[in-house]
Amino acid sequence: MTRAKRVFLLACLVGAFLVSVAIASVECFEEDYGNGSCATVCVFYDDQTGNVIGWMRGPYHQC
């Protein structure tokens, strides 16, 4: 398993933990900044208002 995949999975686990303790849901995306540079970003949402509460950005990795 690559470092990027490990980070992604761990981010998802952290997200699941946060969702379990707050009225929030999380979605993780790969963001592509060009030149083969990507990062995993998890977006935290308030499920009642639809507002974005915050983000968690992983380290850069090769796309």
């Binding site: 952290v14 963001e31 009642q48 509460i53 983000w55 968690m56 950005r57």
Partner: protein, 369 residues
């Protein structure tokens, strides 16, 4: 049936009277929206209100994958069951009706789906992350954030530093950029606070307009534009461009702290970023007469703005609404309908009679271009 119609008129008069009475009690001249559809209050998950091509309002409850007609007395009719997205845990972040209550476009997990009563089909991927959507007579419009998905296809992908598409329209099976916004960020631009700013400056709320136009409003500051199907900006309503930030918010600090606490597990360079931006525009809808209704908020609370495209005027009335999150709105035959994002957050309507007799005043500092 005549008796049903009489009952609807009775409830309408009753509700209008109640609204007027409550208005008198609340903030001077403030409109108080009336709750509707309480019989499915127990439903969870997101909700979206929309009107069909015949101006009839419907409420889509995403967790049930059901569309409820909203009747004249504020109750629901028999629901229409849509095919569900084949990802049970996916939260629908945006939904828009394609003129017919049996056809909806949904945004979930960064992907777009077209749901009907028979099937749900994934739509072509976008090159940028979708965040909002609307369906006008000219088709589907999608608001995007300036972050590449590494998917989709663009004839000429914008490079870092160039303007990124803000709005896409679907042409056949291909997404075409209609409106441009912030510069595409490179690695150096997405560090720290600028990532938050990029999100805040690019987040939109969309609404369908007449003649295939789309209303494109910025979520975190007052800017609303009417955009033609070809991407031409026809009207701009420009207010305060400042993005208001919460000074301190315990819940944000708590979440940021929890993320930071897990940083060692996920990597030393993991960055936790709290969104302190306050929504300036909560939702908007165009009525059949061409007027735009827009719910916004400022330090004093929520307000309802009305833009008259004939008289070229923006008028404002305070809104006695506690809810401060994202809204979907629809103009129906009886009034204006509002739905908070979560089905538990509330849904309300404002009768046209109440809106027509409200104490509208010129909206301060809104320039019409």
């Amino acid at each position: 049936m005549p008796s049903t119609r009489l009952l609807q008129v009775f409830f309408l008069v009753l509700a209008s009277g109640a609204a007027l009475a409550r208005t008198a009690e609340g903030e001077k001249g403030a409109l108080t929206p009336i709750p509707f559809g309480s019989e499915v209050e127990a439903a969870d998950g997101p909700q979206f209100v929309a009107a069909d091509a015949k101006n009839r309002p419907y409420l889509f409850l995403a967790s049930l994958s059901q569309v409820f007609p909203v009747l004249g007395d504020g109750s629901f009719g028999e629901p229409i069951a849509l095919a569900a997205i084949p990802e049970p845990d996916a939260v629908v972040r945006a939904a828009a009706m394609e003129g017919d209550a049996r056809i909806w476009v949904l945004l979930a997990r960064g992907r777009l789906w077209r749901a009907t009563v028979d099937e749900v089909k994934r739509m072509p991927d976008l090159a940028f992350r979708p965040d909002s959507l609307a369906v006008s007579g000219a088709g589907i419009a999608v608001g995007v954030l300036p972050f590449g998905t590494g998917k989709g296809a663009l004839a000429a992908p914008p490079r870092a530093g160039r303007s990124a598409p803000l709005l896409f329209g679907l042409s056949g099976d291909r997404w075409e950029p209609r409106l441009f916004g912030e510069a595409v960020p490179g690695r150096e631009e997405v560090e720290g606070v600028s990532y938050v700013e990029l999100n805040q400056r690019s987040s939109l709320e969309l609404a369908a307009g007449a003649k295939g136009r789309t209303w494109v409003a910025n979520r975190y500051f007052y800017l609303a534009r009417s955009v033609s199907p070809a991407g031409k900006v026809l009207v701009t309503l420009r207010g305060d461009a400042t993005i208001r930030q919460k000074a301190d918010d315990e819940s944000l600090d708590e979440i940021a702290g929890r993320i930071a606490g897990e940083r060692e597990r996920v990597g030393p360079r993991m960055a936790a970023l709290a969104n302190t931006g306050v929504n300036a525009i909560l939702g908007l809808a165009e009525a059949r007469d061409g007027r735009l209704y827009l719910v916004g908020q400022e330090r004093g609370g929520r307000f309802l703005d009305r833009f008259d495209p004939v008289r070229l005027r923006v008028e404002r009335v305070p809104l006695a609404l506690e809810y401060a999150g994202r809204l979907t709105m629809a103009a129906g035959p009886e009034g204006l309908y509002l739905a908070g994002f979560g089905a538990q957050s509330g849904r309300w309507w404002l009768p046209w009679e109440t809106l027509e007799t409200a104490a509208w005043k010129p909206a301060p500092s809104i320039a019409i271009e």
